[in-house]
Amino acid sequence: MTNDQHAGQPAHQNHAGIPLYVAFLVVLAIITACEWAIFKFRVSLGISNFVLVAALSVMSLVKFFMVVGWYMHLRYDPKLLKINFIFAFLLVMGIALGLLTLMSAHG
């Protein structure tokens, strides 16, 4: 996989600007407010535990990848950086799930 493309020239001049950052801020704020609301009124809204966990996990992952993708502009960086980060993230998720199942089995 040859990757000797042009060097050092920031590629994101045209995409990200102040309006985009502000828009992202609003979206992130709304998601956080939703998380707070779902959690706060889970009883009155009658949300089961499973749905709560699923919804909150999805929302936090969306926020996670929004910040990583756009604020850290991983989306515009070379493929190697993406592989490096995604590999580390998935591997640690795998090991964390492994550890949790092993330790919960232990009681």
């Binding site: 959690f39 926020k63 604020y71 070379p78 980060f85």
Partner: protein
């Protein structure tokens, strides 16, 4: 050093190193979060999450960190476009909100201590303080770095527009915010799970 050295991946060495450090920190916080999830229900005595967490305060501190993250994005943008005043204001906002976050955390910790949850009270407290403490430490280091950038920019003014360094600090700061997003969900919102 390697300022704008022609590199194979087109990414500056220091930025690549920061991303590798972020990969490594993923494992650091991954282990801490796993340790918290394992230990949160194993306490024998003392208060646990359900009795002690105050979700409203924590949501506020999450907003606060979100704002500082956006301010950091502004700072990086202004630095690339050589706008001195806006960059300095953004950096100041980042540092300020970082301090607010640390203030929230200080208040939360003293409140928990007052409620009787010390480091050695129970295993839940120990793993909770280790996780949020380690994250707080990273926020403190971030605030220190950003304030040194701000001071350097105030002294040097127009002569100093090192967008590489500001961008790398931005990466670090955004990562610290992203970790808080996960901690906020896993620790505070999964309390009844």
């Amino acid at each position: 050093m390697s300022t704008h050295l022609e590199t194979n991946t087109g990414v500056d060495n220091r930025k690549f190193a920061m991303w590798t450090l972020i990969g490594s920190e993923c494992f650091l916080f991954g282990t801490l979060i796993t340790n918290y999830l394992i230990n949160r229900n194993r306490s024998v005595t003392g208060p646990t999450g359900q009795e002690i967490f105050n979700i409203d305060l924590t949501t506020l501190s999450t907003f606060d960190l979100l704002l500082s993250s956006v301010a950091m994005a502004f700072a990086v943008y202004y630095c690339k476009h050589k706008k001195l005043r806006p960059m300095q204001w953004s950096l100041a906002t980042v540092a300020l909100f970082g301090l607010f976050f640390l203030g929230f955390q200080y208040y939360e910790f003293s409140h928990f201590l007052h409620e009787g949850l010390g480091l050695s009270t129970n295993v839940f407290g120990a793993s909770f303080y280790m996780l949020t403490g380690c994250h707080g430490l990273h926020v403190a280091v971030g605030v220190m770095i950003i304030s040194t950038l701000l001071i350097k920019s105030l002294i040097k003014g127009e002569a100093w527009f090192n967008d590489d360094v500001v961008e790398i600090c931005g990466l670090y700061w955004h990562f610290v915010d992203v970790i808080w997003i996960i901690i906020f969900t896993v620790v505070y919102l999964f309390v009844y799970v």
